[in-house]
């Protein structure tokens, strides 16, 4: 019951008037910005990083807790009320959610999504609080080779599991690792890839990178293809569910939580797969399967809960091992590093107040979110009508402030433009952004662990896999790499057409 007492201490940290205010501000800002079209949770956190510069780390992370869940809920609202999903984790919610909205049931869709997010978020956070101390106990025994192996697993998983093209995923990872290498090598003190520019000696600031890749890249990309006809925004009046909606929702919420949390907690990449899994499960278990495709509430309740549970699960590897599995987690890790804090098993000891304050704030933020969203859904829906020129100009405006304020240097503004151009190219040519951001943030840490492992083994390469844990991890990586190839070969022999495991984006109805 280690977790429970620590959690109570965390509440003691979080429940001071000022910290509650930070959590509240985080939730409101996170939802308001996350609801804006084109802005996912990762961009929300990246854009809001600068306003936490002047805060103490504990308060900053209490605010992040609010932004994290707020941004995610905002994203689902967008995908229900507009007919196209903005980010991969909301793709599934958009399918039935938008159909419900079109049939005049937007209010029920938003309600089941809000309450489902609350249920899954609360249970997921509880899971995090209980699991984190256990993982930490195991993780303190992990050595450098083990960490390196887990990081390789994260790289492989994020490039091969997500996206349709492995070459493009790996290319994106390579670009990320390359950017991560820029700066002075901490071990030898030599400059790498700095072009002799003193501004690059410390590497590129994480705010510039995250804001450039997500905000500027996205704004430029959308600007080049801006839809000139206004989108059809569905209006909502008061958000509530009927007795029947409740009856049909509560089981999908719980099932979604059970599916989402483990997927988030293993370092293998994001909410995309579990949300599809939840959708498929609900479709199979539904009493009236024919409703699916016409706006079934189970198809919103399940994936939404999954999405949030997986987000809570994703904090387990982030806080205990320092390994991000999603773009949002990578930006959070960057924020930790910005405060000179390296998440890992010792984090719970060295910064116990911060970590448990953060976890307690996740509970608080979740509750605030529920209390706010039911009455405020109509206000959020109105944000969707913001004229697009102002919206994307605003993104560039705030991206520029953030990048400049990080170091008060004009050089960073030029760098922001270059990174933004890179983000534009990646979107244009189908290179996924997530492997790049994970490579940037995790690459340097992985290099350090690898070199430490080899120093311990006195340069012997066997030092990278001389523990049973690292060997098992490499075996898992091998399976991840080989299994799809074998499946394809077997299918080809049998003469079957390869069936996609998960529906592709192109299949999303209503696009």
């Amino acid at each position: 019951m280690d977790g429970v007492t620590s959690l109570l201490d965390g509440f003691a940290t979080a429940v001071t008037p000022i910290n509650l205010l930070y959590a509240f501000v985080g939730v409101v800002l996170g939802t308001a910005i996350g609801v804006l079209p084109g802005i996912g949770p990762a961009m929300t956190i990246a854009l809001l990083l600068p306003i936490t510069f002047s805060l103490e780390p504990t308060q900053a992370f209490i605010m992040f807790a609010g932004i994290y869940y707020g941004g995610m809920y905002g994203g689902s609202t967008t995908s229900i009320l507009l007919n196209t999903p903005g980010e991969s984790a909301s793709v599934v919610t958009a399918i039935e959610g938008n159909l419900m909205a079109k049939r005049g049931r937007a209010a029920a869709a938003l309600a089941t999504s809000a309450i489902g997010s609350f249920v899954a978020g609360t249970l997921g956070t509880l899971g995090l609080a209980l699991l984190a101390p256990i993982i930490v106990k195991l993780a303190v025994q992990m050595g450098a080779p083990d960490y390196f192996a887990v990081m390789v697993l994260a790289f492989v998983a994020v490039t091969t599991v997500l996206g349709s093209s492995k070459v493009r995923g790996l290319a994106s990872l390579g670009i990320g690792l390359l950017i991560g290498t820029i700066g002075i090598d901490p071990t030898s003190g030599q400059q790498r890839l700095t072009l002799g520019l003193p501004e690059l000696a410390d590497g590129i600031d994480v705010v510039v990178l995250a804001v450039g890749l997500f905000a500027v890249g996205e704004a430029l990309w959308v600007a080049a293809h801006l839809r000139r006809t206004p989108l059809d925004v569905i209006s909502v009046s008061n958000v509530r569910m009927t007795r029947d909606d409740w009856r049909r929702s509560w089981k999908p919420w719980l099932r979604g939580t059970v599916i989402g949390f483990p997927f988030g907690a293993v370092p293998a990449g994001g909410a995309e797969i579990p949300t599809f899994l939840s959708y498929a499960t609900e479709k199979k278990l539904a009493r009236e399967p024919n409703d699916f495709g016409r706006g079934a509430i189970e198809g919103v309740a399940g994936p939404e809960a999954t999405n949030n549970a997986s987000a809570a699960g994703g904090l387990v590897p982030l806080l205990t091992l320092g390994i991000p599995t999603t773009a949002t987690a990578a930006v959070m890790l960057g924020a930790f590093q910005g405060y000179g804090i390296q998440p890992g098993p010792r984090l719970l000891d060295t910064h116990a107040e911060l970590v448990w304050g953060l976890i307690a704030s996740l509970f608080i933020g979740n509750t605030i979110l529920l209390a706010l969203n039911l009455p405020l859904a109509t206000v959020w829906a109105r944000l969707l009508r913001i004229p697009r020129p102002y919206l994307y100009a605003g993104i560039l405006f705030f991206a520029s402030i953030g990048a400049y304020a990080a170091n008060a240097s004009t050089f960073d503004l030029w760098l922001l433009l270059i990174i933004g151009a890179l983000g534009f190219l990646m979107r244009r040519f189908g290179l996924p952004v997530v492997p790049a951001i994970i490579g940037i943030i995790l690459g340097p840490v992985a290099e350090e662990q690898m070199r430490r492992a080899l120093q311990i083994s006195n340069g012997d390469v066997a030092g990278l896999f001389n523990t049973w844990f690292s060997r098992i991890t490499y075996a898992v990586i091998l399976v991840l790499l080989i299994a799809p190839v074998i499946v394809r070969v077997v299918r080809a022999r049998r003469g079957e057409a390869p069936a996609p495991i998960a529906p592709q984006h192109a299949n999303v109805e209503g696009q």
């Binding site: 290319a171 959308v222 560039l396 690459g443």
Partner: protein
């Protein structure tokens, strides 16, 4: 290479991605090779190892991407709520956005954020199709002056005041 593959929109420009990967990979490897050997490290791994490995990965991906493109593979453009992929990239808008962005970077320390930020917001909104110029100008100034005060007073981060020093 078949004609159909090239005539499809963006067919040829995708080879530019392969070229970019190749260039980045070569840069990493060349930069690593000019570094002196690291005396402090033991064994086969030193400061050059990771850049060389990453460079090799990028070069390999450049080759594999070229193969993929020659076989007719295409990168999937990213969709989104406000994205209409039925027409090509609108380079005029992009050009104007970059110009507004560059203006801010050039002017922020000379004229100060309240002015350069207003130019940035006005320019980008105009580029994106905002046409209520007077309303836009008012909003731009309110935003840039407002954020200056927000950062200065609430967050304690002074953004450049430039020529307005002493007035704000």
């Amino acid at each position: 290479m078949s004609d159909t593959a090239v005539t499809r929109k963006g067919g040829r420009s995708e080879f530019g991605v392969a070229l970019l990967l190749l260039a980045l990979g070569a840069w990493a490897i060349i930069d690593a090779l000019r570094m002196s050997a690291d005396l402090a490290s033991r064994g086969p791994v030193d400061a050059r190892t990771v850049p060389i490995a990453v460079g090799a990965l990028l070069v390999l991906m450049a080759v594999l991407l070229t193969v993929d493109l020659l076989r007719g593979g295409r990168g999937e453009q990213e969709g989104g709520e406000d994205v209409d992929l039925s027409h090509g990239s609108d380079w005029k808008t992009i050009g104007l956005l970059v110009a507004a962005f560059a203006a801010n970077a050039l002017l922020i320390e000379r004229l100060g954020w309240p002015i350069s930020g207003a130019i940035l917001f006005f320019g980008t909104t105009y580029a994106l199709g905002g046409r209520h110029l007077i309303r836009l100008a008012v909003i731009s100034v309110i935003l840039s002056v407002g954020t200056w005060y927000l950062f200065y007073l609430a967050l304690g981060i002074p953004l450049p005041a430039g020529i307005l020093k002493g007035i704000l």
